[in-house]
Symmetry: C2
């Protein structure tokens, strides 16, 4: 069985932009940077929570926090080219990614990314 | 619906010892002491693991450790009089409880407790 991205590279679905080699490098760099920052944030919070544990309920609060964040991160960071405009749109909306980090992507990527970020912002308002 | 211990107090199952008021005080004290020590151990280990987190895999190792310990503790510390001789037998076997902490229980409790501890020791050997 081929992976979704392999399939997509050879036979892009209709309306899905094709990512050039240089765009893939930019996308991977931006993706990894945002993921690294978010993981760093979780690590710092886990250390802070652990240092303040006094009773068992604090312990299970830490477990619950880690489980929730792991699931959320797993869902959010989906590196499939078919998902990437939504992923980046969400990261922009959450201010986990700066527009400059996507510089070099073509407009057929940037437009749906900005559009999804805008949709999320309006949806939350 | 009545809880298992309430049912048991009024209508003890055949072959199950009846716990006197003073025995219940001893049992509760010993149970809480062992649980408190085990929780303290998990808290110390969680703090140690958290302080040494460097990358995301360390973070999820901590989550996994906490989940496993929570489930294990939930299973092990079952304060129903119908379960208590097994619970104390296991705690003795694991050296989480000292024989002296059970002093004051009658022989109809101590015998099955020691017997289960011995069974576990032989089973592990």
């Amino acid at each position: 069985m081929t992976s979704p991205s392999a399939t997509q590279d050879s036979y892009p679905y209709q309306n899905e932009p094709i990512w050039s080699k240089s765009e893939k490098v930019i996308a991977r760099t931006a993706f990894d940077a945002a993921l690294g920052r978010e993981l760093h944030e979780v690590i710092q919070e886990a250390k802070r929570m652990a240092s303040q544990i006094q009773q068992s309920s604090d312990l299970w609060d830490l477990e619950h926090y880690l489980t929730q964040r792991r699931k959320e991160i797993d869902r959010k960071y989906d590196y499939r080219y078919s998902q990437l405009t939504h992923v980046f749109g969400r990261l922009l909306y959450e201010k986990r990614l700066r527009q400059e980090e996507l510089r070099g992507l073509r407009e057929d990527k940037l437009k749906p990314i900005r559009s999804f970020a805008k949709f999320l912002a309006e949806d939350a308002a």
